[in-house]
């Protein structure tokens, strides 16, 4: 009997599969398709202090084995999320949810995290210091150890629940940023957010997305995500969530061997609405194929020796 359970910052997950923020809305679209309680948990749409429409459209560009999005943190704002989205979510999801938070100032982060930390349904806060879509916004926090640590420290000061910092891959030395966040009290690190990418329309000779550049995700970025997870997992003591191009049970196992305690699935949800349910279904067979009885046992298995 395959044991898929893992413990993420003191909360046990039935399995390590977590839909990534921005690819799963607040859960309902998918709850109409399958019982989302099969998930380990999910990270809801990036939430900010104020409501945001986000970037102008078009916001989507296709790539080989991936896509670029420049949604730009569209969300109803933290108050509405708490008053409207979470109660609705309670009807279809009975596990702790991961609250994904973005901001444009330390105060923003503190304001939103403090409110979400008090919500019964919220199990973890995932603090996004890395969204590449907001000019001069979240990006700056994620590209400097000091800024990332400052956000971490401020958020930790107002939260009782585990705080996971989601890092940007668009940096020279992601390990130093992860270490700074751990030093500042982060309970976990999730990586990677999207790579900054671009496509140009040959007919119009203009960038495909109105914002010109956007976040590149999908199977194409998996090798970069895996490398960074491997580097960070070796350096930090806190749990690491592996994110980036995961689209199969094998990818989940590979991420965990690299050092991930849990794994987020992003772009795959957009092209395959049942992707996460299917990955969870396929995990036991994949575990047997690779002689794994408990997923806990393989976390970081490729790091030593």
């Amino acid at each position: 009997m395959a044991d898929m359970r893992v413990s993420l910052c003191g909360i046990e997950l039935d399995n390590p599969v977590i839909p990534a923020s921005g690819t799963f809305g607040y859960g309902y679209e998918f709850a109409e398709l399958y019982d989302i309680n099969v998930l380990g948990t999910f990270s809801f749409k990036g939430t900010t202090r104020e409501p945001r429409f986000g970037n102008p459209t078009p916001r989507i560009a296709e790539c080989t084995a991936g896509l670029i999005n420049s949604v730009g943190l569209q969300n109803p704002g933290v108050e509405k999320v708490i008053e409207e989205e979470l109660p609705k979510l309670a009807n279809v999801f009975h596990k702790k949810v991961m609250a994904n938070v973005s901001g444009f100032s330390v105060d923003d982060y503190v304001y939103s995290c403090e409110k979400l930390d008090k919500c019964e349904q919220v199990g973890w806060l995932e603090v996004n210091v890395s969204c590449p879509n907001v000019h001069g916004g979240g990006m700056s926090f994620g590209t400097s150890p000091e800024a990332a640590a400052e956000v971490t420290r401020a958020v930790k000061a107002v939260c009782r629940k585990p705080v996971i910092i989601k890092l940007s891959p668009n940096v020279t030395d992601i390990v130093s940023i992860a270490l700074a966040c751990q030093e500042a009290g982060a309970d976990g690190i999730s990586l990677i957010n999207t790579l900054l990418g671009m496509r140009i329309d040959l007919k119009t000779r203009r960038p495909v997305v109105a914002n010109r550049t956007g976040g590149f995700s999908g199977p194409a970025i998996f090798p970069v995500a895996l490398r960074m997870v491997y580097q960070v997992a070796q350096a930090v003591k806190v749990p690491v969530i592996g994110v980036g191009g995961v689209s199969s049970a094998e990818n989940v196992i590979e991420m965990m061997l690299a050092g991930a305690t849990a794994v987020e699935v992003g772009a795959a949800n957009l092209t395959r609405p049942y992707a996460c349910r299917d990955i969870i279904k396929e995990l036991p067979a994949a575990m047997e194929k690779y002689d794994i009885s408990s997923l806990r046992d393989i976390i970081g298995g490729a790091i030593h020796g």
Binding site: T23, T57, P58, I60, A267, L270
Partner: protein
């Protein structure tokens, strides 16, 4: 929304770069004209969203233009099966049509209007249709609309068929109870301006998922933000915020 495997019944050219694809499979999720399907094309990461032009219990038809890599690959598929999401989007509201609805299609914009016309005719409405095309060569589906019993006016930009000019020219002096339109966004503002009644616009936008998960296709309306793939693609004239 429903995910299903559909068999390719036929995938034939109607005109230069315009293809008609008929798929066999479970169409149970399609409940209104104006809804769309999202087709996974091999070797493309994203699905291709296409308006349903016509459907029955076990088959559906989409008409598409060969415009890029995805549609080029799709046009090459003469048999086999496709992974398709069906029943996407809100579709047209036929309850608002009144007795003499006007349907206005620009280019391939006629596709969702065909299923709509079928529906309205069945409901006993007097359906007037304006179809605008670049030229005679592009003017497809005209006879099919006529065969349904619609009163059809054709306009072409070059005058090679029907009235010379844009669809708005054909709208002048027409008497109608409500209108439904689909076509290039450039046409929408003009149609809205010269329209005498309320109406419904079917929008297009680049989509990541097509079922409301990614917020890639959002647009601002006078009544808040809507996702073209979920609360759309059909918006009411009264709620549209025109880009100035």
């Amino acid at each position: 929304m429903r995910q299903g495997i559909f068999q390719i019944i036929e995938n034939l050219p109607l005109a230069r770069d315009i293809m008609s694809l008929r798929l066999g499979g479970d169409t149970g999720a399609i409940v209104r004209p104006g809804q769309f399907v999202n087709i996974q094309v091999e070797d493309c990461f994203l699905r291709r969203p296409l308006s349903v032009c016509d459907w029955d219990g076990d088959s559906l038809t989409v008409v598409y233009r060969i415009a890029g890599r995805g549609t080029e690959l799709l046009a090459k598929m003469k048999n086999g099966s496709l992974d398709v999401l069906t029943g996407l989007g809100n579709g047209f509201n036929t309850a608002l049509s009144g007795d003499r609805p006007l349907l206005i299609g620009g280019g391939l914009g006629f596709t969702p209007l065909y299923a709509l016309a079928k529906n309205l005719i069945k409901e006993g409405k007097k359906v007037q249709v304006i179809l605008g095309f670049a030229s005679k060569e592009q003017a497809v589906y005209v006879d099919k609309f006529k065969a349904l019993g619609c009163e059809v006016t054709v306009c072409t930009e070059d005058g090679s068929l029907g009235l010379k000019g844009y669809v708005t020219r054909a709208m002048e002096g027409l008497d109608y109870s409500h209108f439904y339109t689909c076509g290039p966004e450039a046409m929408f503002k003009a149609v809205s301006d010269c329209s005498l009644t309320s109406g419904q616009f079917s929008f297009e936008q680049r989509m990541g998922c097509g079922f409301g998960a990614c917020m890639g296709c959002s647009c601002e309306t006078l009544y808040g933000v809507k996702r073209i793939c979920k609360e759309g693609p059909v918006l009411m004239k009264e709620e549209i915020k025109w880009r100035t």
